[in-house]
Amino acid sequence: MSKILSVRNLHVCFTLRGRELHALRGVDLDVEDGESLAIVGESGSGKSVLNKNFIGLLDQNGRVTDGEIRYYGMGDKLRHYQGAGMDENGNYIDLAAFKKNEDWLRIRGSEICMIPQDPMTSLNPLKSIGWQISEALMLHRGMKGKMAYEETIRILEDVRIDDPRRRFRQYPHELSGGMRQRVVIAIAIACNPRILICDEPTTALDVTIQAQVLHLLRELKEKYRLTIIFITHDLGVVANIADRVAVMYAGDIIEIGLVEEIFYDPRHPYTWALLSSLPQLGHRGEELYAIQGTPPNLFQQVTGDAFAPRNPQALVIDSLQAPPYFEISPTHRAKTWLLDERAPSLTPPEALRKVRDLGKATKGGAEDGRA
């Protein structure tokens, strides 16, 4: 696999009431072509801010203060490319160097596309859903008339909306929440992007509908060879859809690895805490593991490990110096001093053993089934 997007030491600041909020603090991230990457974190951890950088939708008061976002997905189109952010050797475009809205028009939609969180508010209530999907086809793929209509019908079938010719003329208020989310996905697909960013696409939906939409996204990923970046705080959803998981805390990725590595062998205390606080792992009548305190105030300079104040087992060095990435395997790395060879060995909480045992049981079961 090759890289499609590569973030290098990205810093983003917001100016709020005359104060500086350091929302992203040196993020490094590689996104492989054709994978689905989940980004998990609490609200305010910077997961949405990171992704808004990829499509140039950062709020007015925010700006990139340092770092690069290299986009490798242009391929042959890059030869005719004239605009900001071009690499000297012609391998990539640096999205962080974009200044004008015209620059973004080449990327937004046709290369990188975003599915917003709430399907209730992201569709135009005055236009039929067919019109809204065809609009994307006309703008991004130059289709017209009959051709655009037929393509819209085909896309509606792809997102599993039945009776597409009738649905074409319907308006958003005539559809249920799950159907609306499918229409939003259809609009994104119509642009034929390389990367699809899904910002909590299922939180506003019911559990049963949520599972169906996740299934649909997996199908579309295969069919359209999409790279999917998934923003969520629901670890159950992550287990369902992701190949790799990045855990964000206080504006930085503190652990990243394959989904199996994050769930069965997490290393950062924050990842431990997140997993242990899942009600699926608790016993009724017992106390559920809860993370104490609140995330750090990013108006102030963070020294050391940002999670240390909430970590009951923090080491002395955690409050003095920020940990670098430690590699656990070629695909798995974490920013915690616990992985340093001088650190004491801590046993992860009890609940995590349960996740691992669950995994072993299903894995063993599946293998038995095959034999």
Binding site: E42, G177, A211, D234, N240, T362
Partner: protein, 311 residues
Amino acid sequence: MEEREVILSVRGLYVRFGHGRNRFEAVKNASFDIYRGETFGIVGESGSGKTTIGRAIIRVYPASAGSIRFHGEEITGRLPKEKRRALTNQIQMIFQDPMASLNERAKIDYIVSEGLQGRGIPPEEIRERVGRAMRDVGLLPEFASRFPHEFSGGQRQRIGIARALVMNPEFIIADEPISALDVSIRAQVLNLMSQLQKEHGLTYLFISHDLSVMRFICDRIAVIHKGTIVEMAETEALFAHPLHPYTRALLSAIPQPNPEAEKHKTLEVYDPTQHHYEINVPGWNEVEKGHWLRANQEELEKALAALHETK
């Protein structure tokens, strides 16, 4: 199982909205008992009527038919003023979104004390009770003079709980109390709710769409679909032997923190047309002790056979 005291008893409850062609039955023939000191859960999708049941109990929506008895006394329909006041003390509610349910212009001590105002309670006692409620939910006394916008989501939900607690209720309706909260905060609020239940001997009606949370906090669960309760059982029995196809569909959709299982998972989809209720009318049957199922004769026999097989 020994006889437990029934605190709330709902029988044949209907809630209807609108008239004539626009008439809509949000709750159809709901019957259940809630015992003292337990946590009773109602789970269903949005629009299934679970919130409507909660609101009918707290008398926000009038019941169209059926009865709701609290401590054996009817609480639907017209009631004398003293009775209504007493009920406000005894039944309280915790709301879903702590960002929307607190008065932005009032200070915390007023928000928490609002239910006690205008009842002839001396100010010293009000102050004392507010202080106690805030301490109980883990808020510092100096927060009393602040405004809601100064607090995070988890703390706001604590304020919402304190506001209910200050009335010294016996019964609390919690309508999706943690759905709007962040993952790391959810555990804190769930723990707080169980701790308060132990300390104050509270009874909860817990309304949610999230079965994984329900499994953790509820003693018994009722599953509601389109206004009709389709299955009701003790939590463990419901998870071990789900009998109604809709319950099974809900259970199969719960996301598990287990990538291996999630990759091979098969989704069950509930199709209401699979029942043939127009010929064979369904009833509300007790298939085993404490496990109720809505089914017709044919389905009931199948369910009983399946139940014996798994045991």
